[in-house]
Point group: C2
Chain length 193, copies 2
């Protein structure tokens, strides 16, 4: 687990080996079964999480029981609820495993030590936050503007591997369309090819 | 103009007077007519922008000519396109004035000097970025989950003053619903009260 994370850091940063060792020394390891929760709506998000393998989803559930998926986090990505983590307030979302998942995670206090002591790691963390901002803004515009067809085509293009890993209802919940509409869109596409 | 910005900084930060003076000394002033663009899709966003009075909208336009509004920025708020500004690449959105607007703006190089020289200002800027992240995530979940009725009610609650300032077509473009649907929702609400 740590070897994969080490290789991720080596590929994506110029951190010296001793910094990488320090970051890893604070990491905790956890395995989640399919459908197991990292935390639920109303709980406080206390950790920075790196997905080693598997996939998590960040979502909320509306009064009618419908699930709305903000984000999928597959291997080699980070996840958390930023507002709950930063302000230590109850989260408005849940994070749960879509498939058996292994994560590394850091206590907030430990992660803050790393950010303070390793300025290069702070820059890298800031980059990840920035990319998340760009992604969120794009996602809002897509949610506002695209037709169901465009949303689905865009999803297939952006996450080609996810189609085989996710149940259709989760893809629909991510795209903000009904399962019925998604099924119709997919059927129309299959006819075309 | 500068007096209002000074009072904004005094209210929202603990910056010492000399830091406030330094921030203001780098600020440039500009007035925009209604519908005037700050920059268009494809141009590079080169400035940090603080709205002194009036209102800006951040939007893109789809192939069919439909406008999709990411954000309104009224007085005492900041705006820019983060990805274009950070990476100095062409912006995927435009920013234009909804009403006659006065802004203060900073060249990127100047703003970076301020962030480096005034750590307290850097913290404040980071807070604003964080709030933008929380807001974007909420906005995605709302776009996915709410009905047109809920979206409109939520908008009225969140921005009570905006109804009188914005044409209906812009509110519809922000909510991601058609003007026809918005008109129906408003009509149904008026009947109820």
């Amino acid at each position: 687990m740590h070897i994969q994370f080490e290789s991720y850091l080596r590929t994506n940063t110029n951190l010296p080996p001793e910094a990488i060792s320090q970051i890893i020394s604070f990491a905790l390891l956890r395995s989640l079964r399919r459908n197991e929760y990292l935390f639920s709506t109303g709980e406080i998000c206390r950790h920075k999480v790196f997905v080693v393998s598997g996939m998590l989803r960040t979502f909320n559930t509306s009064a009618d029981g419908g699930e709305h998926i903000l984000q999928f986090s597959a291997e080699n990505s980070w996840t958390l609820d930023p507002e709950s983590y930063d302000r230590q307030i109850p989260s408005l979302v849940s994070i749960a495993a879509v498939e058996p998942t292994t994560i590394l995670y850091w206590q907030k206090a430990d992660f803050n030590v790393l950010l303070t002591e390793i300025p290069q790691f702070k820059s890298f963390a800031d980059q990840i936050i920035s990319r998340n901002i760009y992604y969120s803004r794009q996602r809002i515009l897509k949610a506002l503007s695209n037709t169901a067809e465009e949303k689905y085509e865009d999803f297939v293009k952006e996450f080609p591997g996810y189609l085989l890993r996710l149940p259709l209802r989760m893809i629909a919940a991510y795209l903000g369309i009904s399962l019925k509409t998604l099924t119709r869109v997919r059927h129309a596409q299959l006819q075309r090819y």
